[in-house]
């Protein structure tokens, strides 16, 4: 069974189409990545699935039609988005940000979940009293991911988690993504860093100017000469 299936999705900003005719599937426990250049419509796709942007076409989550459902209702079903801009609560403490990530359960479940998230991101435990706005870029990404995990999502969508981060931290983030898929959560990963994304993913879609131009097994894509030339560079091995 698929966790998420998207059929013929289209989003436009006014008269200008941003993405068109996109169909993709995220299977139970799968890690699917969408790669493509800047401005291809990757973030638009995730925002439409989350309900932040209105869209046409069908979005089904666990065989449930999400058409017209508001963002917060989708969160309560078990979808989580870690947006490109993180959207943290800057003046609230790290611990409060995490606690609010579990808003859909009320307070009772926070203890165990909080320990689990601190286990994944020990840095957050060290800084749990600090306001989120004082964190570094990498820590903010960790907090955004931790906050999303506090809601125990069935589908976790990550929008450019490596954007603007130092290489060492990028490696950390991808290691954590690989750890997360081992816990059984389905992941939809949008990335410009195609090499790292294809290394952790099972399947990949290539998005260019709002359309899917290529899709397949991540390994196959990573070996595809067109991908190697356009996204991975000659030196990839």
């Amino acid at each position: 069974m698929s966790v998420l299936s998207v059929e013929k999705l289209a989003v436009s900003y006014g008269a200008i189409p941003a993405v068109e005719d996109i169909s993709l599937v995220v299977p139970e426990g799968g890690l699917v990545t969408v790669i493509g250049p800047n401005g291809a419509g990757k973030s638009t796709l995730l925002n439409a699935i989350m309900g932040v942007l209105p869209s046409r076409g069908a979005i089904r989550f666990l065989d449930r039609d999400l058409g017209g459902m508001p963002v917060e209702a989708r969160v309560h079903l078990g979808i989580a988005l870690v947006p490109e801009k993180r959207e943290l609560f800057a003046t609230l403490s790290v611990a409060d940000n995490l606690l609010l990530g579990g808003f859909r359960f009320g307070r009772r479940h926070a203890g165990d979940e909080l320990d689990r998230v601190y286990g994944l991101f020990p840095r957050l435990r060290e800084r749990h009293r600090q306001p989120a706005g004082t964190l570094s870029g990498g820590e903010r990404q960790m907090l955004a991911m931790g906050r999303a995990l506090m809601g125990k999502p069935r589908l976790l969508m990550l929008d450019e988690p490596s954007l603007g981060l130092a290489p060492l931290i990028v490696r950390d983030i991808f290691r954590i993504i690989a750890d997360l898929r081992a816990t059984g959560v389905a992941i939809l990963l949008v990335e410009q860093n195609a090499r790292a994304a294809l290394r952790v993913a099972d399947r990949g879609y290539v998005l260019e100017t709002g359309r899917v131009t290529l899709e397949g097994e991540a390994k196959t894509l990573a070996a595809d000469p067109r991908i190697v030339e356009m996204y991975l560079g000659v030196a990839s091995g």
Binding site: P70, V75, A80, F89, A90, L100, F103, R107
Partner: protein, 340 residues
């Protein structure tokens, strides 16, 4: 002017300032969470005052029928917004009916100050979330200016409804306690003590609510980052409704506290609310402690100007806002230049 008069004026100013502080707090709260400048705040003061005064004389207040009417309107608005019908009927039809039944049973026997105050709160407070559902929730994505215009419209409508349901006569209630405390020449009335005590308790309560409960944190989160709040499942409508409920309750409580001190008319709330608004503006519509401090300042300024130049009392208080706005606009000029 000797020190005794000064002491009396300061005391007066602080007592009034405490009321303005409550109103300023709820204005800051509603603005932070919903971006609505809550102009109708004063109407809740008047409704609370007139409802309490009616209960005090053992009559059923007109606000009961207003509550039922707005509840029914909120029910219809909720149906149009396709909310789950069971919860909707419970919150907007069953609740007013229960409050009306309770009042009908209790009021003729004059149940006492505490019961009257609680009953007044129960009657007036739900009006605020009903108004949010009818007037503001459909506009949740609108600009601050559109929301402000809607708020002015709601203020005018509620003032008119106040005239319909309470009539043009003013009312005054008996004091909570006739006792007074004297230290030397200086005496503090029981009512003043009640106002200061309840205001202080309410502020501590609000501090605890926002600092330590999940719902309080959720409201703060909505104020800081609306999209972030939606992404963790905090509905804009839900937090807006809670913010309005708190503001309605605070407004009604202020009215209940004020009505033993002064005669309140259906349109008295606006000027009282405007002074809370002045304090909130001085605090930049953003800082809670700042708003409390500014409100006490406004109260003291008012009481001194009513002693020295009582004809210009309101003029002096509202003029105080101009230098503050000038100072703020000078400080923030650089940011606006960047935007251009």
């Amino acid at each position: 002017m000797d020190s005794t008069i000064a002491a009396i004026l300061v005391q007066d100013g602080i007592v009034n300032g405490a009321i303005y502080a409550l109103l300023a707090l709820s204005l800051v709260l509603v603005f932070a969470v919903t971006r609505v400048v809550f102009v109708p705040q004063g109407e809740f003061v008047a409704y609370g005052a007139l409802t309490y005064a009616a209960l005090d004389t053992g009559t059923l207040p007109g606000s009961l029928w207003l509550l039922a009417g707005l509840g029914a309107a909120a029910f219809l608005a909720g149906l149009a917004q396709r909310r789950p019908i069971f919860g909707l009927a419970l919150s907007s039809l069953v609740l007013p009916a229960a409050i009306i039944a309770t009042s009908w049973l209790l009021v003729p026997s004059k149940p006492g100050i505490l019961a009257n105050a609680l009953l007044s709160l129960a009657i007036v407070t739900p009006i605020a979330p009903y108004i949010y559902r009818i007037g503001f929730q459909p506009l949740a994505e609108a600009s601050v200016l559109v929301l402000l215009i809607a708020a002015v419209a709601v203020h005018l409508a509620l003032m008119g409804l106040g005239l319909v349901f309470f009539g043009p006569e003013g009312s005054r209630a008996s004091a909570f306690s006739a006792a007074s405390v004297s230290v030397g020449d200086f005496s503090l009335s029981g009512q003043a003590l009640w106002i200061l005590g309840l205001t202080g308790a309410l502020m501590i309560g609000l501090y605890g609510f926002f600092g330590f409960t999940l719902l309080g944190r959720a409201l703060r989160a909505t104020a800081v980052n609306r999209l972030g709040a939606r992404l963790v499942g905090i509905g804009t409508a839900q937090s807006g409704s809670i913010a309005f409920t708190l503001a309605g309750a605070i407004g009604a409580l202020s009215g209940i506290l004020v009505v033993p001190l002064t005669t309140v008319y259906y349109d008295s709330g606006f000027v009282i609310g405007l002074k809370g608004f002045t304090a909130a503006i001085i605090a930049g519509m953003a800082s809670y402690p700042g708003a409390v401090l500014a409100a006490v300042l406004v109260g003291v300024l008012e009481s001194f100007s009513s002693f020295w130049a009582s004809a210009f009392k309101e003029v002096i208080v509202f003029t105080a806002i101009i230098p503050v706005l000038l100072w703020r606009s000078l400080r923030h000029a650089a940011i606006e230049d960047d935007d251009e």
